[in-house]
């Protein structure tokens, strides 16, 4: 993985000094809250419902074990003993004190980390496929290019006060595992006929109030032009993106307003002035960065069936089936540690679990971990022959729930329990649903199902692209939940369709149950929930869900625990 050189260290050190000074000026009253706001946001510091929340950048989700241990340390020293991994492959701490945030940054800097541009109206942390470098369907490892973009976008002087936040995702494989279609810029690696590496450039995707899938504005961008072309996009957006209404300020609205062709024309015109300038990547620079992402020193191992010696162990079999992914090197596998144990807010990990995951990484996976945008942790390079032992250990720490890609592997934002933007709670709903379907055989029978939930229209929980999407809404001061189906991420990205009027929190488990009943009744063999939903449309689901009244009274499981 990338390691800081003297320049990276210097920039991060100077950032801490700058930010420490800004905090001091805020406390001294030299900066008003209004003036401090964009400064702290550009450093990932939010004011939440109860306290400050600090979001730390995990560039493209890649972590060294010592960095994971630092999160455990921060959780213990500055927070309440846990952290929350996010859909942006970052981590956030929900209970930090403003005065201590510069010290947290100093601690982070000691392990080459920071909180730069994890929020605010600037280019955010670039995300990428969590299986980068190990997936068999990879055209090129996207991480060096994500790193190139990380450096370029860090404190970019021209794009620090954009109309709105700006998110970039890179995918290097045939299958899109980075949800590129719902990003402001989605890049996917391609090779041209000459075998040269480049990117297909998609712009204007996004969720939130106006969910739109991105549009391709360039089929092939040679990789050396990555920065100048991105700069051209950013300059057009910075100048012409709307600023009068924050809900219409994303680049997708500009694209919609002027049309994809016109937008692409403006970008090309801007780029004509930049193409080939000094920001064009040199072969040396690309090779320097790529050198940090060379494959590990893999052993020569035979490919084995990890289940062979444990044929009767159904629990292990379930875990292998759901949580273990193929690896391009024989004898190896990628393991997903589930942060979706029933009764735990999705994406949360305790300090003890973080230390433990760091240990696992050291012992089984070359000291590296990845954060997924589904809020789990990946150990990407595990020997197949060690899977059983790893499983036993992970299980003992509550990290081996065999539910990856299943109903209970929900993407879920922190919702109204933490977030001041939220209109409704999300964690208790997730808990109630998980409780209702806490039956592993049933979940495995249902198969691949992405349930994504957001507590407000900002869509941090990616509800629009959930096979089932749940959106918390406010109606006359009380919390309601709107349900959509048929959304999908990846190569077949789709925005889900709302099935009808919203439901109360208490009704939600039953609503999910009814949706599943329709699916079980109507599915063809091999058909996933989303396939059935897309094939049939919402009508049969809607009809059944609303056919008879759903009980609205009663206490919601999980309500007390997480209130």
């Amino acid at each position: 993985m990338y390691q800081y050189d003297q320049y990276d260290h210097l920039i991060v050190r100077e950032r801490i000094a700058q930010y420490r000074d800004q905090v001091q000026r805020r406390i001294a009253g030299e900066l008003t809250e209004e003036e401090f706001l964009p400064l702290r946001l550009q450093n990932g510091l939010y004011m939440q419902r109860h306290a400050y929340m600090l979001r730390i950048a995990v560039p493209y989700g890649l972590l060294a074990s010592k960095q994971m241990r630092m999160f455990a340390h921060i959780a213990r020293k500055y927070d309440r003993g846990y952290g929350h991994f996010t859909t942006r492959q970052n981590i956030q701490f929900n209970w930090v004190e403003l005065e201590q945030t510069p010290d947290i940054l100093a601690d982070l800097a000691s392990v080459e980390m920071h909180a730069i541009q994890t929020s605010g109206n600037c280019i955010r942390n670039v995300t990428a496929d969590e299986f980068a470098g190990v997936a068999a369907d990879e055209i090129v490892d996207p991480r060096p290019y994500a790193e190139v973009l990380r450096q370029w976008s860090t404190f970019h002087p021209e794009f620090i006060a954009l109309p709105r936040k700006f998110k970039v995702a890179i995918n290097g494989a045939l299958e899109d595992r980075a949800a590129i279609a719902v990003h402001d810029i989605g890049l996917t690696a391609v090779k041209n006929e000459a075998g040269e590496i480049g990117f297909k450039v998609m712009v204007g995707g996004g969720m939130g109030r106006t969910p739109i899938l991105g549009s391709v504005i360039r089929e092939f961008l040679p990789r050396e032009h990555l920065l100048t072309y991105t700069e051209a996009i950013m300059r057009v957006y910075n100048q012409y993106g709307r600023r009068d209404n924050k809900y219409k300020a994303r680049i997708k609205i500009l694209l919609k307003a002027i049309g994809v062709e016109e937008f692409a024309r403006q970008v090309e015109e801007e780029w004509a002035d930049l193409k080939g300038n000094a920001e064009t990547l040199t072969l040396e620079e690309m090779e320097r960065i790529i050198a940090y992402f060379q494959p590990h020193a893999y052993a020569t191992l035979p490919a084995i069936d990890p289940l062979a010696d444990h044929a009767d162990n159904k629990a292990f079999a379930n875990w292998l089936k759901r949580n273990v992914k193929p690896h391009k090197v024989p004898g190896y596998a990628a393991v997903v540690l589930s942060l979706k144990k029933t009764g735990v807010p999705p994406g949360d990990a305790t300090a003890e679990q973080m230390d433990f995951m760091a240990d696992l990484a050291d012992r089984y996976s070359f000291g590296e971990l990845r954060v997924t945008h589904e809020q789990n942790i990946v150990l990407a390079d595990v020997e197949q022959r060690q899977l059983f032992q790893l499983w036993q250990e992970a299980k003992a720490h509550g990290l081996a729930t065999p539910n990856i890609g299943l109903l209970t592997d929900m993407i879920c934002c922190p919702g109204g329990d933490f977030c001041s933007l939220a209109n409704a709670k999300s964690i208790p709903i997730a808990a109630a649903i998980a409780e209702r379907f806490d039956h592993i055989d049933f979940l495995h029978d249902i198969g691949d199902l992405e349930l994504n939930m957001s507590g407000c229209i900002n869509a941090c929980g990616h509800h629009h692209v959930g096979h089932i999407g749940i959106l918390g809404v406010d109606k006359d001061g009380s919390e309601w939940y709107q349900v959509s189906i048929g959304g999908a991420q990846g190569n077949q990205s789709a925005i889900g369709k709302i099935i009808g009027p919203s439901f109360s929190a208490q009704q939600m488990p039953e609503v999910i149950d009814r949706l599943l009943q329709v699916y079980l009744r109507e599915r063809t063999p091999e058909e996933r929930f989303v396939d059935t939903a897309q094939r049939l449309g919402i009508a049969p689901f809607k009809e059944f869900v609303y056919a008879t009244p759903i009980e609205t009274a009663g206490r919601l499981v999980g309500e007390d625990e997480y209130a």
Partner: protein, 186 residues
């Protein structure tokens, strides 16, 4: 508190300034608004409407609103002693791109001044985008604002101030030893 309305930061120094920025009241007509004597920075619309008379004056400047295009001044930039860009709000970042285009696309080499909601924490990026003068907000200490220009000693990306990105300014070498450290999990 000393009167700061006639002081600006120029380069890296605080200097006296005798320019006036003409800000028309709402509804005032660009063609008929009276431009006072002396050194005046007029709005783009006023320049365009009164070009014939204004261009005979020995010292005239023009300012652009953040929604205006610098290309409007193409071919005329040598007529101005000052070009200013207004930041209606410090969170409005359009002025950075305007400055970039004035310098890089239109090759403007004269004084480029940031006016409006100009605060200490914006100065570093303003400088990088090509500004060399800053009329900082008068309710804040200009001495304090000066510190904003020297926040970072290195930057990754190219901009107007240095058109070479870090990787072209310095040899950045990835060593094998550095790389191998990581897997050990130290």
């Amino acid at each position: 508190m000393p009167d700061q309305t006639n002081r600006i930061i120029k380069g890296r120094e605080i200097v006296a300034d005798d320019w006036t920025v003409l800000r028309p009241a709402e509804g005032e007509d660009a063609a008929t608004i009276a431009v006072p004597d002396g050194k005046v920075i007029v709005p783009l619309a006023t320049w365009q409407a009164q070009k014939d008379t204004l261009s005979t004056r020995p010292a005239i400047g023009v300012w652009l609103a953040s929604s205006e295009r610098p290309e409007e001044l193409k071919g005329e930039l040598d007529k101005f002693a000052v070009v200013a860009v207004d930041f209606p709000k410090f969170t409005d970042g359009r002025g950075y791109s305007i400055a970039y285009n004035l310098r890089m696309r239109l090759a403007y080499t004269g004084e480029l001044r940031a006016i409006g909601d100009v605060l200490r924490d914006q100065l570093f990026q303003m400088k990088r985008c090509g500004f060399d003068a800053y009329a900082t907000r008068p309710d804040r200490s200009i001495e304090d604002a000066l510190k904003g220009l020297t926040v970072f000693s290195e930057t990754y990306q190219a901009s107007v101030d240095d058109q070479r990105p870090l990787f072209r300014r310095h040899a950045r070498v990835a060593t094998a030893a550095e790389h191998k450290d990581v897997g050990a999990g130290i």
